[in-house]
């Protein structure tokens, strides 16, 4: 294994087994919030135990180790083909070691060759920047929460949502209502207002790279992010949909331009087992620094 492969293997291991600090803090806050002696509190206690066990045993937090999505910011001249090769090798090894489940299935034949490699797996988004270092962020997003994601085309009469910020709010809150506990709440929403059907979902997922405790630079969106979390937490859906006080741990909203004819609101739901990590790499491929 070369240095880059080793770094990526360690990135996968840590992403699969360790909850990032910002998310862990939010989960501890949620455990405090839930009423003592309720099944919501029991669920949060099990979640907290699970986080500790996974870290200590270096094993997956959740058995659904999810879609493997790399976000790479790289300098000019960075060898993307070599990175792709290294990422594939690291995924294969991580699967053998049990950091990842054999999780990738041929959609036509139903065959699972046990490697996690195939069309779309892993997914790698490259982006060039003028800095000299490369940073690699990884999200492992499970199928349960992916399945409750939703895309609304506004106006939407059913939920009385027009093409304005209030309409966006209604769409986002409807997604929370429809998801109930099925996405393994308390959850975190990544939202994109605008874009097309593909870029909208893609950008909504990208919002999940933001730290949970950051602030949106756009004041209106910052307000909406807070309002969605506060309102969702009044609905009584609670952890796992058992009822309770914490339905969402956070909401992050981004905006893309749209066509005059289209107005999409795309919502990606992330489960409490929010597996997201990142590293800054030295030119040798070794890990210089962890990002979360």
């Amino acid at each position: 294994m070369n240095a880059l492969e080793e770094s990526l293997l360690e990135l996968i291991r840590r992403t699969s087994a360790e909850i990032p600090d910002d998310v862990h803090q939010a989960i501890l806050g949620s455990l405090e919030q839930e009423k003592k002696g309720t099944i919501a509190e029991s669920a949060m206690k099990i979640i907290e135990q699970n986080i500790a066990l996974a870290k200590n045993k270096s094993q997956p937090i959740c058995q659904d180790t999810g879609s493997i999505i790399f976000y790479v910011d790289c300098p000019l001249g960075f060898d993307q083909l070599a990175f792709e090769q290294a990422a594939r090798e690291a995924v294969k090894t991580a699967t053998k070691k049990g950091f990842l489940r054999q999780n990738s299935v041929d959609s036509l034949t139903g065959k699972n060759d046990g490697t996690n490699l195939g069309p779309g797996s892993p997914t790698i988004h490259f982006h060039q920047h003028r800095e000299s270092d490369a940073t690699v962020r990884l999200v492992l997003k499970g199928g349960g929460c992916e399945n409750v994601g939703a895309q609304y085309s506004l106006p939407n009469e059913e939920i009385n949502a027009n093409r304005d910020l209030d309409g966006c709010r209604k769409a986002i809150l409807d997604a929370v209502l429809q998801a109930q506990g099925k996405g393994c709440g308390p959850g975190i929403l990544g939202v994109c207002i605008g874009g097309d059907r593909a870029t909208g979902y893609e950008f909504s997922k990208r919002q999940l790279l933001r730290a949970l405790d950051d602030h949106n630079e756009n004041q209106e969106l910052d307000k909406l992010e807070r309002d969605v979390v506060e309102t969702a937490n009044k609905l009584g859906i609670g952890p796992m949909g058992f009822g309770g006080r914490t339905t969402l741990l956070g909401t992050k909203i981004g905006v893309l331009n749209r066509l005059p004819a289209s107005f999409f609101v795309s919502v990606s739901y992330m489960c409490w087992a929010y597996r997201r990590q990142g590293v800054k790499l030295a030119s040798t491929g070794a890990i210089q620094e962890w990002l979360y």
């Binding site: 099944i39 029991s42 669920a43 099990i46 979640i47 135990q49 699970n50 066990l53 996974a54 045993k57 094993q59 997956p60 937090i61 959740c62 058995q63 659904d64 180790t65 049990g98 489940r101 054999q102 999780n103 299935v105 139903g110 065959k111 699972n112 046990g114 499970g142 199928g143 349960g144 399945n147 009385n160 209604k170 809150l173 209502l177 109930q180 506990g181 099925k182 393994c184 309102t231 009044k234 609905l235 009584g236 859906i237 609670g238 796992m240 949909g241 058992f242 009822g243 489960c271 409490w272 087992a273």
Partner: protein, 191 residues
């Protein structure tokens, strides 16, 4: 916490109520999308897989072979159950299931079958793969490994103290229906 051991007696199952916390000891068989579709289409189970009085677990675990060549379960949380809604009622009726473990709840057909035939839906904490894998003390067998692949195979688990919450009981109650209705009414206040 109510202790349950497999095989489950019908009376013990009918006594359970939505909101009860249970701890399960005994045998669980995993079964998810491929297994449910297979059974629905008339597929037969190997004779060793006895679901009568038993519990099916909606789970695609991470399993590795240890140095001694034994199966070892390293992650085993529940998968979303609603995908089995078209098939589950029939499996309860025909195979005599007494319990289903999963997450996210199930729909009206399953609620009705639970009531009619004496079965309960036990909600495990989604994502809690390590806490739940700790309860899996051994993995004696696997069936349909070649046919369906590891996550979709039928794994036989011996479990001790496996925690879950009754969210659909055998009296026609569903916590999921209650929470949906209440949260929908609540949301209307804030729109």
């Amino acid at each position: 916490m109510i202790q349950l051991s497999t095989p489950l007696a019908e009376t013990a199952v009918r006594d359970l109520k939505v909101g009860n916390e249970v701890a399960i000891t005994g045998t669980l068989f995993t079964g998810r999308d491929a297994v449910h579709k297979y059974l629905h289409e008339g597929g037969q189970l190997p004779p060793e897989v006895v679901l009568r009085g038993g519990i099916i677990y909606h789970c695609g675990p991470v399993i590795i072979k240890d140095e001694q060549g034994q199966w070892k379960c390293t992650a085993a949380g529940p998968t979303t159950s609603i995908r089995e809604e078209p098939y589950q009622w029939q499996i309860i009726r025909d195979l005599g299931l007494r319990g289903i473990i999963g997450k996210g709840g199930m729909g009206d057909k399953t609620v009705a079958a639970c009531k009619e035939h004496g079965c309960v839906y036990l909600h495990a904490v989604g994502g809690a793969a390590q806490v739940l894998a700790e309860c899996v003390r051994s993995v004696p067998n696997v069936y349909f490994m070649e046919k369906f692949g590891a996550p979709e195979a039928i794994w036989e688990f011996q479990v001790v103290g496996f925690p879950a919450i009754v969210t659909i009981d055998a009296r026609g109650n569903s916590l999921h229906k209650e929470i949906f209705a209440a949260s929908q009414a609540e949301l209307a206040k804030y729109l």
